[in-house]
């Protein structure tokens, strides 16, 4: 990414500010609860419905406002409002991504629905989730106490046991944990209104019909890693590899992702999270050793996710991610985004930046334009530190957008120390820490995974 491209990227597309204002109004109403809307919140909810009035959601959203006004809050109203909010943020996502594609000259595939396996999700579990989400909406964040959070316990336990509803389980467990530590929420100085409304909205959509992960088509070819993005909350971890796929035979070179995830508990932290993903040794080796992977007939969804299958992957030659980013990334075709996944938080576009000046204020100056580097998003499971980022001269990162601002999330940095090039990648420790200090710290605390797995084996046998 060049300075001129960045300068174009950061121009806010028309309509984004207005859409975010409508979203913010609804989020404030949700914080106080939808059961007793005062004039200000009523107006805000009407404005949200008004913003989608010309869309297919318009009628349902308008009806929902009418029902809320007379104090009726059922799943129908909540789904309509969640749908309206998601549609607005989807539009913001689309505008931002189009701006990004334009600025970077990135081509993107058209959305193409692959039919998914038709399987009915367990209706009782979805109903349980909806009922808790309704209670939250009625109480508002300010009305949340420990009792209301605990009311989700049984639903959560059942959701986790159902692999088809993993997305919902992971999301609701993450939200419940945040609410639990914030109880009673009424005493919080500031409430993360946007965030919790985001999580609530997505959960309402997922609790409506279960996951919408689409069907997939088989692909073969050579996968060249760019970098790893690690996601984590108390009870889940996900490592998402961004890579370039050189398909065997015809077809464009593509930008793809491969994500593997596992359930965990909060005491498993730092480099140990990789142990939970050890069922994917080929993927982890490719990440840790920076190797290409030969894949054969691996399923790829329309939105660019390889459904990772170790049986269809073979570790290949060493492949330098910086070389891939320099040579292959500029011409790779980016995937479309599934309509219901469209939300600004989901924007995570890999870029290579070089020849910048790392400034003291935490930005990279690309000459004429500067971008904030997200120094919080440096996973404890890898070697990247703010010091390495500040000393770097080249960086593979993800472009992200939050609260009106673009940031760069580093996945890998290159710098020069004692005249030798030094690299650090998020996934370097995927097979165990390579840094002696981190290895020692891990040895000192002992393996949490081993201790807990042993206990689970003994106590949960019956």
């Amino acid at each position: 990414m060049q300075g001129v491209q960045l300068a174009e990227l950061v121009q806010t597309p028309p309509g984004v500010d207005e859409a975010m204002e409508a979203v913010a109004g609804f989020d404030a109403a949700l914080a106080d609860g939808l059961s007793r809307l005062g004039p200000r919140h009523s107006e805000a909810v009407d404005a949200l419905a008004g913003a989608v009035s010309a869309s297919p959601l318009g009628a349902a959203a308008a009806d929902a406002c009418g029902e809320l006004a007379v104090g009726s809050i059922s799943d129908t109203e909540l789904s309509a409002l969640a749908g309206a909010r998601a549609a607005l943020l989807g539009a913001v996502h689309d505008a931002l991504l189009a701006r990004l594609d334009g600025a970077l000259g990135r081509t993107r595939a058209e959305w193409e629905e692959h039919p998914a396996d038709a399987q009915e999700p367990p209706a009782n579990l979805l109903a349980g989730a909806r009922s808790w989400l309704r209670e939250l909406a009625i109480a508002g964040w300010r009305g949340v106490d420990e009792e209301l959070v605990s009311a989700a316990d049984q639903t959560l336990e059942a959701l986790w046991a159902e692999p088809r509803l993993r997305r919902l389980a992971v999301l609701l467990d993450g939200l419940a944990a945040e609410l639990r530590v914030s109880c009673p929420v009424a005493t919080m100085e500031r409430i993360p209104e946007r965030r919790w409304a985001d999580l609530w909205t997505r959960a309402v959509l997922l609790a409506h019909s279960g996951s919408w992960t689409g069907g997939a088509a088989a692909v073969s070819g050579r996968l060249l890693p760019l970098g790893v993005d690690v996601h984590e909350h108390g009870t889940a971890v996900q490592a998402q590899l961004h890579a370039v796929l050189e398909p065997r035979g015809d077809g464009p070179v593509r930008l793809v992702r491969a994500a593997v995830a596992a359930a965990k508990v909060d005491t498993i932290v730092g480099p140990e999270v990789w142990d939970l993903l050890s069922g994917h040794p080929t993927l982890l080796a490719a990440i840790a050793e920076r190797r290409a992977v030969d894949i054969a007939d691996m399923p790829l969804t329309a939105d660019g996710d390889l459904l990772w299958d170790e049986e269809r992957a073979k570790a290949g030659e060493p492949a330098d991610p910086f070389a891939t980013a320099r040579v292959r990334l500029p011409d790779a075709e980016a995937p479309a985004v599934a309509p219901l996944d469209r939300h600004p938080v989901r924007i995570a576009e890999p870029v290579l930046v070089e020849g910048y000046k790392a400034k003291r204020d935490g930005t990279f100056d690309l000459g004429g334009a500067a971008i904030d580097v997200d120094a919080d998003r440096l996973p404890p499971s890898g070697p990247l530190t703010p010091q390495l980022v500040n000393a770097s001269t080249a960086c593979i990162g993800l472009l992200r957008w939050d609260a009106g601002r673009w940031t760069l999330q580093p996945l890998a940095v290159r710098s020069v120390a004692k005249k030798q090039p030094v690299e650090a990648h998020n996934g370097d420790w995927a097979l165990g820490p390579t840094d002696p200090k981190a290895a020692k710290a891990l040895a000192r605390s002992g393996s949490a995974v081993a201790v807990l797995t042993e206990r689970a084996g003994k106590l949960l046998r019956k």
Binding site: P163, R167, V181, H233, K264, T267, D402
Partner: protein, 164 residues
């Protein structure tokens, strides 16, 4: 990303749950601040299937310690903490930090204070079953059947830098 920042309410991504610190789990595999108590499970040392369930109430600081089969612990009596309760407090402070544990238990404590000596409750019988079943539920996360779907919702939950 802290809540002191301007515009924090408009952020989709923010750290809400304070990070917890790694610690050795062999002796005290489970600690939590929940249900108005600091509670957890302490290894017995002699048997792998028998454990002690220890808990301390917020505010009153009344405590209890018994085996998971509800057999009272001989060490916890009157106003005396047994070694299990001491271990529970020590490990909780390692995991959450003194400030967070003290705040939950509603006790005034400054960095460097010995939290154990500030808790002046008495032994009050409490059933161990609830805490023990929460421990079992905690362990079931390690037995969760694997899913194959990517989890787009995890973009709301980035792994964030450790805070020391």
């Amino acid at each position: 990303m802290s809540s002191g920042e301007a515009g924090w309410e408009e952020r989709s991504v923010a750290r809400i749950v304070p990070p917890i610190r790694p610690r050795k789990l062999a002796k005290v595999p489970f600690v939590e601040l929940a249900e108005g108590r600091l509670q957890g499970v302490v290894s017995s040392g002699s048997s792998a299937t028998r454990v002690y369930v220890s808990s301390i109430e917020a505010e009153t600081h009344d405590f209890n310690c018994s085996t998971n089969n509800n057999r009272p612990c001989g060490g916890a009596q009157g106003s005396f903490h047994c070694k299990h309760l001491k271990a529970l407090i020590d490990e909780a402070v390692k995991q959450y930090g003194l400030e967070r544990v003290a705040r939950y238990l509603k006790v005034e404590a400054a960095e460097g204070d010995d939290l154990h000596s500030l808790l002046n409750g008495k032994l009050v019988k409490a059933p161990a079953a609830v805490v023990f079943s929460r421990f079992l539920r905690h362990l079931t996360y390690l037995k969760v059947p694997a899913g194959s779907e990517p989890l787009p919702e995890m973009h709301w939950f980035p792994a964030l830098k450790a805070v020391h």
